[in-house]
């Protein structure tokens, strides 16, 4: 049994409504407990003058799977420039926008984050994703399985099969791949690309299957909801990056018909066509819609200037963007006509009108959506920028004068006209704690993470108070993972293995026979290997804890 006490810190724990109360936080065996002030503990830390929060949770960060690895291979220069650290506890691993699995764990942990979720796991490549995440030290992890473009699903939809049957298929896919949720990427569009369509609007027919993205979103949102999966359908909407795509984004929200939906990297879907350049911010319009629709949650996908790489399942849009890549190389790939993959290196430039406006749009979204519980802080790592830029982003959100200073450096038309100039809102520490911990935990259905109540896991980040919020959030004084000190002042102290979050919804196993038949007829991978068992997940996860998540409206199942 081991105990520790953090004495005299300012606790910011929005999940329990605590905003800056001075107090002690005690931990026994990796869980937060209440201990009498007089009781001796094994380790006592004086954290007076410091801010104590739960460990950060990134609910959308590309950290494992085929396209992430392709991005690493495509950009060896990122690994040459961003070399290993001199910390003997760290094994050699490099990279900034395409960090190796080890560097991913180290850099997240030393920034105070203790969990990250891979948003785009292909069914056929789920093992790879889990193996890479298992290789990522310290962080807890999980993944959303990518559905909505695979032949088997589109065929079921086109044949007009019962919603219950489609739901069983979704349930099977979540179980087979050990997913934490379901993501749909460019609904139907990745498949349409393979039939030579280069654009697919929400109510446009897929030329072959004759279904629309609206049907795909509706069907999947309903299935996810009825299966009791806590995380709403994770939606990468149609027409990513296309000027005027605000209309299809709103149509996608409509398609949910009131069911919960999480619109991811909304910044890339918030463009109008006003002005002489036919490219404008639709952030206000979208933010108002989000404010009016309580079933919608978002993450932003803020862009950060500098070199990065965009790795997406959206082959249709990545193919269209390939010519804009810098350096000029890209990869498009596919496995089993299951989804897609496009990797395009990108350098966001301050003097580019488009990039500058994207930057402003992202910040406008953060600041114009009223309810921080429905906004998650992300850069869609690495697509908008590497996750290591979160402290910079936090400062932009908390400090109006810093924001104005950065805005003044941008393309003059954007600097002079962006609506962002007029927005006075500065987020508080409490709101930042919501967007980086409490909200993602709630949206994922993690009841014992992202908060510091008694019984919660002791994932804790302690920041030394600093008016420069970027400095403050870059190097927390202490970071604990399940009660173990893993980083101190930006330096890794221990590298425990993280756990895997997943859900196990129930479904009618009758679906398996037809899936097996389909698989044997059309796929290269044998159906016998389609499902990852719990034992196999455990070995994929490097022996880390298995953390099955409770479903909606059901009692907790034994692990």
């Amino acid at each position: 049994m081991s105990t520790l006490r953090l004495r005299g810190g300012r606790i910011v724990d929005p999940a329990n409504g605590i905003d800056g109360d001075l107090g002690d936080l005690c931990v026994r065996d990796g869980r937060i407990v209440e201990l009498p002030a007089a009781e001796a503990v094994d380790h006592e830390y004086d954290v007076s003058g410091m801010v104590v929060m739960a460990g950060g949770i990134d609910l959308h960060s590309h950290i494992g799977g085929g396209k992430v690895n392709l991005a690493r291979m495509l950009l060896p220069e990122d690994h040459r420039i961003n070399r290993r650290s001199d910390n003997p506890l760290e094994l050699a691993s490099a990279g900034c926008c395409t960090p190796g699995t080890l560097a991913t764990g180290y850099r997240y942990a030393e920034m105070g984050y203790t969990a990250a979720f891979e948003p785009a796991m292909a069914v056929s490549n789920a093992r790879h994703a889990h193996l890479e995440m298992g290789d990522t030290p310290i962080l807890d992890h999980g993944a959303y399985v990518m559905l909505g473009n695979e032949e088997v699903f589109l065929r079921m939809l086109a044949e007009g099969q019962d919603v219950e049957r489609v739901r069983d298929y979704v349930g099977w896919a979540i179980n087979a791949t050990r997913a934490m949720g379901v993501k749909v990427v460019n609904p139907g569009g990745i498949s349409a690309f393979k039939f030579n369509q280069r654009k697919l609007d929400v109510d446009q027919d897929h030329v072959h299957w004759r279904i629309t993205p609206r049907q795909v979103v509706q069907t999947l949102a309903r299935a996810v909801h009825e299966l009791g999966v806590p995380h709403p359908l994770h939606i990468h909407a149609s027409n990513l990056g296309v000027p005027g795509n605000v209309d299809s984004t709103l149509a996608t929200m409509d398609a949910l018909e009131g069911l919960p939906g999480h619109l991811t990297h909304l910044q890339f879907h918030s463009y109008g066509t006003e002005g002489s350049r036919k490219f404008s911010s639709a952030a206000r319009r979208l933010a108002e819609e989000v404010n009016a629709r309580p079933n919608i949650s978002i993450d932003v996908g803020q862009i950060i200037f500098g070199q990065t790489v965009t790795a997406s399942g959206d082959t249709m849009r990545q193919h269209a963007n390939a010519d804009l890549g810098s350096p000029r190389k890209w990869i498009g790939a596919d496995i089993e006509c299951d989804a897609g993959c496009g990797v395009v290196p990108f350098r966001y430039r301050e003097q580019s009108y488009v990039n500058a406006l994207q930057w402003a749009i992202g910040l406008e979204l953060f600041l114009l959506v009223d309810d921080p519980w429905r906004v998650v802080l992300t850069t869609d790592h690495p697509n908008g920028g590497p996750f290591t830029s979160y402290p910079h982003l936090i400062r932009l959100l908390m400090d109006k004068s810093f924001r104005d200073e950065q805005l003044a450096k941008l393309h003059p038309e954007v600097a002079a006209n962006a609506e962002l100039r007029e927005i006075r809102r500065e987020l508080s520490l409490y709101e930042i704690a919501i967007m980086t911990r409490a909200a993602p935990a709630r949206l994922l259905g993690l009841t014992d993470r992202g908060q510091l109540g008694v019984g919660a896991a002791a994932d804790i980040a302690v920041y030394r108070e600093d008016a420069d919020r970027e400095a403050m959030f870059t190097t927390p004084e202490y970071v604990f993972k399940d009660g173990a000190l893993v980083a101190r002042r930006g330096r890794i102290e221990a590298t425990p293995v993280g756990g895997t979050h997943y859900v196990e919804p129930e479904f009618d196993r009758g679906i398996e026979r037809s899936l097996a038949r389909y698989s044997e007829a059309h796929l290269a991978l044998s159906y016998r290997h389609a499902t990852i068992s719990r034992d196999e997940l455990c070995s994929c996860a490097n022996g880390g804890a298995l953390l099955p998540c409770r479903l909606h409206g059901r009692a907790e199942r034994p692990a």
């Binding site: 495509l74 060896p76 220069e77 001199d86 094994l91 050699a92 350096p327 000029r328």
Partner: protein, 272 residues
């Protein structure tokens, strides 16, 4: 405080030793003891340079490094060097002079893989042979050698000058397969034999064959251009290096262009 140092390799390192960063200008102004404390990556362990090398100060006032011994396991010698002079009495490992932008490197022995990769300026001279992928791009990069002068007295390996886009190379010995593949610009003069697939997907740039003529691929075609003025200039600059290149000015070379499957603007200059 000194500008010039002599480094004698005491024992052969057990693993690869990364010497990147040990350049004449970076080291100038240190004393021998500080130099010997400088950490080097030996496998995945950082050890002081003094564990491997005896460091001695030289009288020279210009930034200079002289390495002595078999540095075959030492990679990154002169990597990203930006001035001064570096000499190796012996062989060196991989990445010799990669990204060199100014100054001079001379190696009395042979070099490993990826020598002169992305060479941007200055002069690199190897008395012995160099391995594969010399004068090309670092793995994953889009452009190879982009300036400077690279002289190899011995033979070169495969994929020499891959994606090269500027600068001059003289090869006194033979070249391996895929010489000047995907070359974009620049000049390579070779005195010995060349391997298979010479000029594969070459887009622009010049290849001078001072020795035995190569087999002509189907994707290269003769042209009737009058190149006497250009040749006089090129031949004179190459002849200055002597040896097999000395008599070039007397030629009336045959000119081929290719690779027609790529851009087709590369040129081969053969004995007439």
């Amino acid at each position: 405080m000194s500008a010039a140092f002599h480094l004698r390799l005491r024992t052969q390192p057990a693993l690869r030793l990364d010497l990147a960063g040990i350049t004449p200008t970076a080291m100038a102004g240190q004393d021998a003891a500080a130099f010997a404390r400088r950490p080097l990556w030996h496998g995945n362990e950082a050890l002081p340079l003094g564990e491997f090398f005896d460091v001695r100060v030289l009288a020279d006032e210009a930034p200079t490094l002289v390495f002595e011994g078999d540095l075959g396991r030492c990679d990154g010698v002169g990597r990203a060097m930006d001035g001064g002079s570096l000499r190796v009495e012996g062989d060196v490992g991989d990445y010799l002079g990669a990204q060199l932008s100014a100054g001079e490197i001379r190696v009395s022995g042979s070099a490993g893989l990826l020598a002169a990769c992305e060479l941007a300026g200055g002069r690199l001279e190897v008395e012995g042979d160099v391995g594969d992928h010399a004068a090309s791009a670092l793995p994953g990069d889009m452009d190879g050698m982009r300036g400077g002068l690279f002289i190899v007295r011995g033979n070169v390996g495969a994929r020499f000058g891959d994606r090269m886009r500027r600068g001059t190379v003289l090869i006194f010995g033979n070249a391996g397969d895929f010489l000047a593949s995907r070359m974009v610009a620049g000049t390579i003069a070779v005195a010995g034999e060349t391997g298979a697939h010479c000029g594969y997907a070459m887009r622009r740039g010049s290849l001078v064959f001072a020795g035995p003529p190569p087999a002509i691929p189907a994707t290269f075609a003769a042209t009737g251009h009058d190149i006497r003025v250009f040749w006089a200039l090129l031949a004179r600059s190459l002849a200055a290096h002597g040896g097999p290149f000395e008599g070039l000015a007397g030629w009336r070379p045959q000119r081929l262009v290719g690779d027609l499957s790529a851009d087709g603007k590369g040129e081969w200059l053969l004995p007439g």
